[in-house]
Amino acid sequence: MRVNVKLFARLRELVGQGELTLDAPGATTVADVWAALVAAHPAADAYARSMSCAVNLNYARMTTTVADGDEVAFLPPVSGGSGAAAR
């Protein structure tokens, strides 16, 4: 299966690209896609516990099913708005 993976911010920098087509044979869930990404780009593993994910522009879970051609985005913790994110 082939999916389009999108990466942002520091995760994008660690992997070295913001957008890639990933071959993930036998993958059925977001978790499988993440595993394929980490296999190809071990640096991504730094975000294994803190990232969230979206499939085709909907927030998803690691258990969400993916299909060929889907856009799967992995998102580091967000920091929009203004001021320090932490209170």
């Binding site: 942002f8 520091r10 803190s50 927030y59 985005a73 580091p76 967000v78 929009g80 994110a85």
Partner: protein
């Protein structure tokens, strides 16, 4: 009528956001403008770069507006967020909310900025004197009810 949501690299206009919420039922409008500050945890900030997953960010702003308009009767909300390089003093986010009564306007406005920090896929890259760092806050999950309730609690405190 301007759009209720925007993710844009152009300078933000408070006027434009206000125009998006005007209507005859409004008795109050609260606005919030987030600015780029020249210091952060002891660092001298030079500028910020905001990166967005634009289509999902715009959608997340829409979710926040729908949540607020469902929670506060008669509320109309608009949120514009800037991306790209922002200098000190520039506006990164503008929120406006019109409601029949003022208490709801203040509460809904506070709710919106708390939710933006939780679920909108935008990242701040801080360039400071001596280095740069990605600022990371909340793990984004629009379906996290506990986070939504926490934002509501802050808004209604």
């Amino acid at each position: 009528m301007t759009s209720a949501t925007a993710i844009t690299s152009a300078p933000l206009s408070v006027e434009a956001v206000l125009r998006a919420v005007e209507g005859p039922g409004a008795g109050a409008v609260a606005t919030f403008v987030g600015l780029v500050r020249d210091h952060n945890v002891g660092r001298k900030v030079l500028w910020l770069d905001y990166e967005a997953y634009e289509p999902l960010a715009e959608k997340a702003l829409g979710i926040i507006i729908a949540e607020a308009e469902a929670r506060w009767a008669g509320a109309r909300m608009a949120i514009h967020h800037r991306t790209g390089r922002l200098e000190i003093g520039e506006a990164s986010v503008v929120i406006a909310v019109a409601t029949p009564h003022r208490a709801d306007a203040f509460a809904a406005c506070r709710y919106a900025i708390e939710r933006i920090k939780q679920i909108v896929p935008i990242w701040k890259h801080e360039h400071f004197e001596g280095g740069e760092v990605w600022i990371e806050g909340a793990t984004a999950d629009a379906h996290d009810e506990a986070a939504r309730e926490a934002a509501l609690k802050i808004a209604c405190a």
